[in-house]
Homo-oligomer: 408 residues x 2
């Protein structure tokens, strides 16, 4: 079958017993001609424990040193998994991200992969080894250890699959695939057999925690099919690829998501002059803060002042506030508001553009549940509404019921 | 004062509080013109915990993967210490062993340093950084992580001091310096102000746990003065250097040591033919087992058969037994004996060769305490006796009293 890349997350390798179970599964599923690369995350809560340790040393952690610290988590897992594989008579060798050829930029704690040199991986594969690669990490141009940010192990797996021209990248996780909504929130949610890269990307971007958006982008770029499946069963999960091979055509909307890791930021009473928005968003870009759902509205046509509203990730909220307050002071605006009690609910589907009435159906569902919409934004394949955080669960259920009635 | 290398062991960095205390000390002692490199071990029991983790995964750990695993311990410490230093306003950067330029051979778990390229360290020092280097580790020619074996952080510190041509290498530890005997065993033991490399080397080789022998060798080779001192006080400790600058001439014997990490190995009834000893000891050398106190004695002149007795480290005992049994089967000897209930007690002093009666005084002390001597071996500056392990404490006290009477 060729080269297969498998990725196991932190909960799949949380204890020595689970590591042995992963090793057993890898050995059991390996066909004689397969060349197998396994990517793993840090064991269970290791990353959180290391962050806690750093906080006990300093209130002001430094990202370069955090990367030095956090990258040890994956290094422990790969060594243990390689030992467990060897124990089962399966020759295996572990490689850190830098050893496996991952080169990144120098943005510590959220580095981007710039290049992969898989020579060492090919060499070990050709020697008959299963290669166990540390997820989440790489080397900056100066040789410093970098990490790709949370969820970076998915990125490692897919990028490695792309660099190796692998037949498939299997992402083993604690859910059984990609669902039409989070099954913990919506009990009637359905597992999808297939989904396109673009849809998955949009789902991930909008809060579906199954896959890291960057890893889905990479899958699309390299054309690597990504199989999202459960660590705990042998059932097929959801295949992410370019187009559909099976028919699930009844569902134009493929998923309903909600995202609580969002904060609303607003600059009120901005003078209506060219260059203002540029000024605001370039300051945020410089700080590597991702901005979403930007809406500019007219506050007062006579005075020619506007409000600019947008969303950021919750953990960027404090930094966003200080950046906005600095910009606001320079520009003489009315005020800056940061609101962390919001949630974003969204519908996603590649066919939405050609199916009128989707927006109306979503707004109707929210209205029916008595939920107020604060901001709306759309993309080609999605529609998102910002609402109060405490109504997120109700909103997702109402929307899901409106689009997936037949599965009730 | 130039470049100073400081090394703090695992017990000095065992908790976040202790790491902060080490950072505070480094900052407090740093003179404006000093360039400082700090080497640290893994926090407290981390290395043992990682070994335990590996044992839960496999009964048959692999040394390459153990190095991948164990090297994470120091990586955690360096990251935390660099953060703690930065927190105190002292710019600092952490480097793994490979990043700091340590190249080793490929003997995993007890690698030897083959070369140090300190370019990156010099670069960071010239930027005004305190450089925090992971002890105990390096990179093999193929880029794999290696470790130097237990105590390897001392080796890292001294070798780094040599490569940087440092003014001094300070080894901070949980004792106040080098004592005439282990103070936990001999309450009247004295702290020595100075000691030569050769004496220290012999003390270390013979069981004084203060310094790793290999690190003392390196100190001698590069002429780096090594200051062994306490983490918990600011008192000077013991300076290890080429010759004496102060007078402690009353003591020809500089130290009395005991070593319980020793096993006696014997091959009984070996045919008296050329090449037999070569055969035995080359097999052990191939397995990287260090051999000490070799004695060959004639068992039976008529039959021309001999006994060969020697000592190895206790953790090499099992492997030694299997090697000897294989050789024994080939040669047709009478038998192989491994005895782990032994201890080695020794006296060390550079002036011993010119001072007659030292051996007699040692044997007299042992005889006076009713302790039987099983094997004797000598070097230019030491004399060792193998005795029953349970008499080690009595032996050291009796010998110490005989040589350091005036300190009673």
């Amino acid at each position: 079958m060729g080269i297969v890349v498998k990725k196991f997350g932190g909960s799949s390798v949380g204890t020595p017993e689970k590591i042995k179970a992963v090793a057993a599964r890898v050995v059991r599923e390996k066909k004689p001609d397969d060349q197998v690369v396994v990517t793993v995350s840090a064991m269970g809560d290791t990353t959180d424990d290391l962050i806690e340790l750093a906080k006990q040393v300093t209130g002001n952690t430094r990202s370069r040193e955090m990367d030095m610290l956090l990258s040890t988590g994956e290094q422990v897992s790969i060594a243990l998994l390689a030992m467990a594989l060897n124990d089962l008579g399966c020759p295996a060798v572990s490689l850190t991200g830098p050893q496996a050829g991952f080169r990144t930029n120098s943005v510590h704690m959220k580095a981007r992969i710039t290049d992969i040199n898989p020579d060492r991986v090919f060499e070990e594969l050709s020697r008959g080894n299963v290669v166990v690669v540390a997820g989440f990490q790489g080397a900056a141009p100066n040789g410093d250890v970098t990490t790709l940010g949370r969820g970076g192990s998915d990125t490692t797996a897919v990028a490695m699959a792309g660099a190796l021209n692998a037949a498939v990248c299997e992402i083993f996780t604690d859910v059984e695939g990609v669902y039409s909504a989070d099954p913990r929130v919506v009990p009637t949610a359905r597992k999808m057999k297939e989904i396109t890269y673009n849809e998955m990307l949009e789902l991930a971007r909008l809060g579906a925690g199954v896959m890291q958006p960057r890893s889905v982008e990479l899958g699309a770029r390299y054309g690597v099919p990504i199989h999202v499946r459960s660590t705990f069963t042998t059932e097929p999960g959801t295949m992410i690829r370019e187009g559909y091979t099976v028919e699930e055509k009844d569902f134009v909307v493929r998923g309903v998501t909600h995202d609580l890791n969002v904060a609303k930021a607003a600059i009120m009473g901005v003078p209506d002059k060219p260059g203002i928005a540029f000024r605001v968003f370039s300051a945020l870009a410089e700080a590597n803060i991702d901005v979403d759902m930007i809406v500019q509205s007219i506050r007062n046509t006579d005075k020619k002042i506007n409000d600019i509203v947008f969303t950021v990730a919750k953990n960027d909220a404090a930094q966003t506030r200080s950046i906005l307050e600095k910009v606001a002071a320079d520009l003489g605006v009315l005020g800056v508001v940061i609101d962390e009690d919001v949630a974003k609910v969204s519908i996603v589907g590649a066919g939405m553009l050609g199916s009128p009435g989707m927006a109306a159906r979503m707004f109707g569902a929210l209205s029916g549940a008595g939920i107020n919409i604060e901001v709306i934004s759309t993309s080609e394949i999605s529609l998102s509404c910002l609402i109060r955080a405490e109504r997120a669960k109700d909103a997702v259920n109402a929307i899901h019921a409106a689009f997936f009635r037949e599965s009730r």
